[in-house]
């Protein structure tokens, strides 16, 4: 298939993953392509409604077709519908934005958020899909998978030059002992509680802003993670997700 198609898809990924509208020059610089080439890709993407041009500025954001496709994918995570009222309860009790992260291969993906009443959110929530060790919710999950899988994750991450801290194993042991993970500097304050299916975590509830002052998650964060886990134990199909059939090593986002 033509490289113009690949370029258009890379432009779509760049704008989507940036979380903000981008101009032609910035996109061209990011992807090391000529502005004219970027413009042709943008034109094709806008015609397909995957991107949309901001009517007030020469910038491009995610379009209705891409939003619709993302929504269709999210709806395939049944755990999301069930967890959403719990996230709203936690957000209303703490005032903090709360989110549900699920494990996809060696990544943690945010599939649901309930905004808190605080005006500012730190951005910990809106990080899309990240390697497990690179995000507080991912580390809560990573600490509760088998040792063999942790070894495999380490090899996978090393091959992709994902920085693994020297205290990696000790950090995971601390998370297991505490029952939650705390965001590490320079990440913003947040705490994540794993949701366990049998003895392994497949998801985590993250409450933003709690990490800064609190030494441990409020009882509500842990209660809510346990209630969601109990629902999954009673209805195992809730934990199914569309990428279950893949070996974790086979789920790789191209850079």
């Amino acid at each position: 298939m033509s490289s113009s198609a690949k370029r258009a898809l890379k432009i779509l990924a760049t704008v989507g993953e940036s979380g903000r509208p981008m101009g032609v020059t910035e996109i061209a610089r990011t992807l090391h392509i000529a502005p004219g080439t970027a413009f042709r890709g943008l034109d094709a993407l806008c015609r397909a409604h995957l991107l949309a041009r901001d009517p007030r500025a020469p910038r491009y954001g995610v379009g209705p077709a891409a939003l619709g496709l993302r929504q269709s994918l999210l709806e395939q995570f049944r755990i999301r519908d069930v967890a959403m009222p719990y996230l709203r309860q936690l957000a209303s009790a703490t005032g903090e934005t709360c989110a549900l992260y699920v494990r996809i291969g060696w990544y943690a993906a945010c599939v649901a958020t309930a905004p808190g009443s605080a005006e500012m959110t730190s951005g910990t929530i809106l990080n899309g899909l990240q390697p497990l060790s690179a995000h507080v919710a991912g580390r809560a999950i990573l600490a509760h998978i088998t040792h063999n899988q942790i070894v495999r994750y380490r090899a996978w991450a090393t091959a992709r030059r994902i920085v693994i801290s020297k205290t990696f194993e000790r950090d995971l042991a601390a998370i297991r002992a505490q029952g939650f993970a705390r965001a590490l500097p320079p990440e913003s304050g947040a705490l994540a509680v794993p949701i366990l299916k049998s003895d392994q975590a497949f998801a985590a509830v993250l409450s933003e802003g709690e990490g800064a002052g609190a030494n441990q998650p409020g009882p509500k964060g842990q209660e809510i993670a346990e209630e969601i886990a109990a629902l999954v134990r009673a209805n195992p199909a809730l934990a199914h997700q569309p990428f279950d059939q893949f070996d974790p090593d086979d789920i790789v986002l191209p850079s």
Partner: protein, 273 residues
């Protein structure tokens, strides 16, 4: 001299357009899709569709499904950092209506939803003076306890009510104030039958600051509950005659919210047995 590059660029962009059309064909389809089906729908030849699918898979916008024969949306869309939810966020959606109801009545207004086996108030605007609701924002109250909880319970199906009552047995009683209907299954079911006879509930609470309330459900297309909105105030200024006089305006305020909510299914009700 310029014709050739222009034509070549146009051809290349057509190729990109074809790939993006194949991706767009997954919009509005819940299940995975196959090469032949896509080729037919888009009037492309199978070879073209196959190559487009391979490009989309290589960039993780699509992936193979569990059978390995068909294609489904890929994980790349999960990497998109998008703040705004495109689904129904009942808290954000209801907030302006709570403000309008508070402005109209001057009384406290509450938005409550079902969380597991409980009612939880997830947003409120408090009027000046003494509180007219004992439970605080975020506190769980069992679905059979209090009139507000039972309004949510009453809008579940008979099957869901039965599942709830079986799972919640023996029924806990609220310790905050007497609530006779919550003491037995028959009391809960009787109250549910009464609640179902009207589109809203007007209620006097004799035990708490002599308060009165209007409780209005916000329902989905199957008339299942997204939430309830409660307006409550002390009876010396907000008794049933005052509420009844305000009801046409209260219902007019809530009408757009009700219309919006009717377009989206409410979350599933799952009881953790």
């Amino acid at each position: 001299m310029n014709t050739l590059p222009t034509t070549a660029a146009k051809y290349r962009n057509q190729a990109a357009g074809r790939v993006l059309k194949v991706l767009g064909a997954f919009l509005g389809h819940d299940g995975p899709r196959g090469v032949s089906e896509l080729a037919r729908e888009l009037s492309f030849n199978k070879n073209m569709v196959h190559r487009a699918l391979a490009t989309l898979v290589s960039e993780s916008f699509l992936s193979r499904d569990a059978t390995g024969e068909l294609y489904q949306l890929g994980p790349r869309f999960l990497a998109f950092a998008i703040a705004e939810a495109s689904e129904l966020d009942i808290v954000a959606l209801a907030r302006p209506y709570l403000e309008q109801l508070h402005a109209l009545t001057g009384e406290s207004v509450y938005l409550s939803i079902i969380v597991g086996r409980n009612r939880v108030t997830v947003d409120d605007i408090q009027a000046q003076g003494s509180r007219v609701l004992r439970s605080r924002r975020g506190d769980p109250v069992p679905l059979h306890c209090t009139k507000m909880s039972r309004v949510l319970l009453a809008h579940l199906s008979d099957h869901d009510v039965g599942e709830y009552l079986a799972a919640a047995s023996p029924l806990k009683r609220t310790l905050a104030f007497p609530d006779p209907p919550s003491h037995s299954k028959s009391g809960v079911l009787r109250d549910i039958r009464d609640i179902r006879t009207a589109p809203y509930v007007l209620w006097r609470n004799p035990h708490l600051s002599s308060a009165a309330y209007a409780i209005l459900p916000v329902l989905d297309p199957q008339k299942r509950p997204h939430a309830i909105i409660t307006i409550g105030g002390p009876r010396e200024r907000f008794d049933l005659p005052q509420i009844e006089a305000l009801l046409p305006r209260i219902r007019a305020i809530l009408s757009p919210l009700e219309n919006h909510a009717r377009l989206v299914p409410a979350p599933p009700f799952l009881v953790n047995a």
